[in-house]
């Protein structure tokens, strides 16, 4: 059988499951779904969990490699796929499965975008504290698969903390679920934890339930600036040790400010010095506070001169945080050949990691631009090339390997995105504090044929 005939057969089979309009092998379309330049043989958009199951049963029986895909905002993460037979798009899985504002829970299909969820719950003064970059494109499924997070993680935790239930289809096409639609549940194994951050390698998630939170009626952000990272860290420790309970505690490095400023368009012309950016010499720590005027007055008193001097409120404040959340996207808008790492470490390892990142950048002709949830130890570290000419692959390799040599044993430094040429030279995942043998045993149990995102994960 020639490859063309096989592909035609594949598209026909997928069309039989999802409908003619929702299966394609037309290169004009599939090319736009290339992952690291690997073009999928066919793409399908199932309209229900049952159709997802049928696609997976078909693929499983034939050992076809399946890559689940949402809004394509995170597909650059992971190893280069050896091949993709079926790109399984979640586009049509958009149902609101349950939402009663009084219960502060929502369940949605994974093809729902983050912005769509926000629009649904916003009128009820509720939030899903996900705050991803590109909310109009990012889907709930993509957010779950990549365990993505934004500045609100400081107060609300990550997806593992507020996703209470999942519906999914296994590699062999079983429709299953775990968890519940209520805020508290310990019945059965917590497969949410297994699926969140598994980058589509364990199962295809079709729906999920989340705890929602009341939107604080008033928020204000205090901006503290420091000449040195060490001073910024001392300030962070002061905030963490104080009675204050900010909703965000975010670091913006000197070079990150220019990137954040790029997408920040203040509404009021005179917000002046209080805005983040233009590119500064300083390390900024943003303390976002929620509460009444009296509560905010207390913040001013506790934060002291360092932060009380400049603060933001109203629409500008909200806009500014949007810009901070957009950092991982804006970095690449500004610098196509940039590299972005997700660094997760204990609190006291934040400063050494940022110093190591600055050093790695300097030695390899990059500028280091970092933002991060410094109150929980989750950082986004960007490397933007200084030269106009694209850097050599070795510059990326050397920067990553230096940073990883400085990463503590239980820390992680995952390359979320870098040029493809560089990706060929290193494992984007790096080391892990989680037992590899156990992870492999779970992968074998869930996807023994290795059809889900083959070759893209850690092992």
């Amino acid at each position: 059988m020639s490859p063309t005939v096989a592909a035609a057969g594949l598209a026909r089979a997928l069309a039989a499951i999802a409908g003619e309009a929702y299966a394609t092998e037309d290169p004009a379309r599939t090319t736009s779904f290339a992952i690291d330049e690997v073009v999928p043989r066919a793409a399908v958009e199932p309209g229900s969990a049952a159709e997802v199951a049928a696609v997976l049963q078909y693929a499983h029986a034939r050992k076809l490699v399946v890559a689940p895909a949402g809004g394509f905002t995170h597909q650059h993460t992971g190893g280069i796929p050896e091949r993709v037979d079926i790109l399984l798009r979640t586009e049509r899985l958009k149902a609101v499965e349950h939402y009663d504002p009084g219960d502060m829970m929502i369940g949605v299909g994974v093809g729902t975008t983050v912005a769509e969820v926000e629009r649904k719950i916003g009128p009820h003064q509720q939030i899903l504290p996900l705050e991803t970059a590109q909310p109009e494109r990012s889907t709930i499924g993509g957010a779950l698969a990549t365990a993505t997070h934004g500045p609100l993680k400081h107060a609300y935790g990550g997806l593992r903390d507020y996703c209470t239930g999942v519906r999914f289809v296994t590699a062999d096409g079983k429709i299953a679920k775990a968890g519940a639609k209520v805020v508290k549940n310990v019945a059965g194994y917590d497969l949410m934890k297994l699926l969140i951050g598994s980058y589509g390698t364990m199962a295809v998630i079709t729906g999920a339930s989340f705890k929602l939170f009341p939107r604080p009626p008033q928020m204000r952000t205090f901006v503290a600036q420091f000449a040195r990272l060490a001073e910024a860290m001392t300030f962070r420790d002061h905030v963490l040790g104080s009675p204050l309970t900010p909703v965000c505690l975010e670091l913006v490095s000197p070079h990150a400010q220019a990137i954040v400023a790029e997408s920040f368009h203040p509404v009021s012309p005179n917000s002046g010095e209080t805005r983040v950016g233009p590119p500064g010499e300083t390390w900024r720590v943003l303390v976002r506070a929620a509460g009444s005027d009296r509560v905010l007055a207390r913040y001013r008193a506790e934060l002291g001169a360092a932060a009380a001097a400049s603060e933001m409120g109203g629409d500008d404040e909200a806009q500014m945080w949007r810009s901070v959340a957009e950092f991982p996207h804006t970095l690449f808008e500004r610098s196509r050949n940039a590299m972005l790492l997700r660094v997760d470490v204990a609190l006291q390892d934040v400063a050494p990691m940022l110093e190591a990142a600055e050093r790695a950048a300097l030695d390899n002709s990059f500028l280091c631009a970092a933002t991060g949830r410094i109150g929980v130890g989750s950082l986004l570290v960007g490397f933007a090339p200084i030269a106009v000419d694209p850097p050599s692959a070795m510059q990326y390799v050397n920067a990553v390997s230096y940073l990883r040599s400085m990463t503590p044993r239980d820390g992680s430094a995952i390359v979320l995105r870098c040029p493809l040429e560089a990706k060929r030279y290193f494992n984007v995942w790096g080391s892990t504090p989680n037992d590899i043998g156990t992870m492999k045993a779970l992968k074998r149990a869930f996807d023994g044929e290795d059809i889900l995102n083959r070759g893209r994960f850690l092992f």
Binding site: H98, D100, G102, D103, M105, G158, I175, A176, K177, A180, K181, V182, V183, K184, N185, V186, A187, G188, Y189, D190, L191, K193, L194, G197, P214, D237, L240, G241, P243, L244, T245, G291, S292, V295, A297, D344, V345, A346, L347, D349, G377, D410, G411, S412, W429, S431, T432, P433, N434, D435, I436, G437, T438, M439, A441, L442, R444, A445, F446, L458
Partner: protein, 475 residues
């Protein structure tokens, strides 16, 4: 291998004084705080991870069930050796291995008592947030196994939200690491998956926990209502209104009267229900939230609002709550506490249903529960010497949990499934759901050496032989 050979090997591994195999000693380990029972053949008290690993190897080699046990305060039979075998007790693994205040972490052995950790780290202004009612006895290893909650999980989350790393001994004796001090890590979230597996996939031997900052201010309010409906509606209004108490507990009238007689906490004897509401945080914020709570309660016809004026009054209000089950226990020889969860807007309806169940089954049922989470705790009073009452109790529990599931809820919010509710799992999960969970089980514990016959419903072919499960065991 004869029984005595296993005793010998256990003594060789853990020391002669660390193994029990006499009938009278074993009896102490055949129950927990629930109603299920099962007798072990051996009880062993390991002191190191290495010993745990060797014991697991022995159990695997001999195909003898191995059941980890903390303080035995569980309510679902998680630590009961249902199929006999070796019970592994952690009362010699009680060291706090490290307090890392700067990173807000501690590393502890599984036998460390929940409240002891909070007491030790209090000098850093920190505490360990999960607060099961049994926290003065229950161990952190047990909390991890059961993913324990408590009144303050409304704001702080359950155990899994406070665990970042584990050292686990697998049934074959392998020792593996999961996570560490960092909040997230590369790879599958093994730590998150492991918490709440009820001792069915591995034995935890070291735990890295998050420590939480003690709030500056705390305000504890008691809202007294004429009717349960008013109280339940106030709960829904508080949570939906953007107020975020750290605890929001309800006691119904029946429970109140028992509690008051037992503790003299000052609870009113003639009200329909009370809410115990706690707020924590910045002083200014707490004061404002307390005012908001007061307004909501008054809007829902609260008869009276009381405020704890000092720590002593606060402790007294909490004492009533924390000892409520024991107080109810004075009314009957035994009680059986259910643990279903419902969406918060359904609380009033569920309470009315529970009342009809009580009438239909001719039983007394008190309600004292985590209203803010919708985590019901109907406490069914019965006499275990009367087989008919036992049967009716079982039936009442099943009816209530079925109703919780029908309302969109679940069968357990914090007590775990164990051997008490494993046959009820099909209320919530399809065969495929359970099969996928079984994949996880079998990846870790393929021969079911570890804690067998728990969590999953008994396969149909074996069900006949397992009728002793659930409530109304031989105790």
């Amino acid at each position: 291998m004869p029984r005595s050979r296993i005793s010998e090997e256990l003594r060789e591994i853990a020391g002669a004084e660390a193994v029990l195999d006499g009938a009278e000693d074993l009896m102490l380990y055949e129950y927990d705080a629930g109603l299920s029972t099962g007798t072990p053949q051996w009880v062993v008290f390991p002191e190191t991870t290495k010993q745990v690993s060797r014991i697991a190897q022995l159990a695997s080699r001999m195909n003898v069930p191995l059941v980890p046990r903390g303080a035995g305060t569980g309510l679902s039979g998680g630590s009961i050796p249902r199929a006999g075998g070796i019970v592994l007790v952690f009362s010699r693994m009680t060291k706090i291995l490290e307090i890392d205040a700067a990173n807000r972490r501690a590393v502890v052995q599984p036998g460390v008592v929940n409240a002891d950790l909070s007491a030790v780290v209090a000098r850093h202004g920190l505490f360990f947030a999960p607060d099961p009612a049994s926290q003065k006895a229950s161990t952190i290893g047990g909390n991890v196994a059961e993913n324990s909650g408590g009144p303050h999980t409304l704001a702080h989350g359950v155990t899994v939200n406070h665990i970042t790393g584990l050292e686990v001994v697998l049934p074959d004796g392998g020792v593996v690491q999961m996570g560490g001090k960092a909040a997230d890590s590369c790879g599958y979230d093994l730590t998150g998956l492991f918490v709440g597996t009820e001792g069915t996939v591995g034995i935890v031997t070291a735990i890295t926990v998050k420590l939480t900052k003690v709030a500056e201010a705390v305000e504890t309010l008691l809202a007294i209502f004429h009717t349960i409906d008013d109280a339940a509606n106030a709960v829904a209004s508080i949570t939906a209104g953007g107020i975020t108490p750290v605890a929001l507990e309800m006691l119904d009238g029946k429970t109140l009267r028992c509690v008051e007689e037992a503790t003299h906490a000052g609870y009113p004897m003639d009200s329909g229900a009370v809410l115990l509401i706690e707020l924590e945080g910045l002083r200014e914020a707490v004061t404002e939230q307390a005012e908001a709570v007061r307004a909501v309660c008054e809007r829902h016809n609260a008869r009276e609002m009381r405020r704890a004026a000092n720590e002593q009054e606060r402790q007294l209000l909490w004492k009533g709550r924390k000892t409520a089950f024991a107080a109810l226990g004075r009314l009957a020889p035994a009680y059986y506490t259910q643990d279903g969860v419902v969406p918060r807007s359904h609380i009033a309806k569920v309470l009315r249903y529970i009342e009809t169940v009580a009438q239909k089954c001719n039983l007394q049922i008190g309600n004292i529960f985590h209203a803010g989470d919708g985590n019901m705790h109907p406490c069914i009073l019965f006499d275990m010497r009367d087989p008919d009452q036992v049967k009716r109790t079982h039936e009442a529990g099943r009816m209530i949990l079925t109703y919780c599931v029908d309302c969109g809820g679940t069968i357990t919010g914090e007590h775990g499934v164990g051997m008490e509710k494993n046959e009820l799992m099909p209320l919530l999960f399809s065969e495929d759901d359970l099969e996928v969970m079984k994949w996880v089980h079998d990846a870790f514990n393929p021969k079911s050496v570890l804690n067998p016959q728990k969590l999953f419903p008994t396969p149909r072919s074996c069900r006949e032989t397992n009728v002793a499960g659930g409530i109304g065991g031989s105790r």
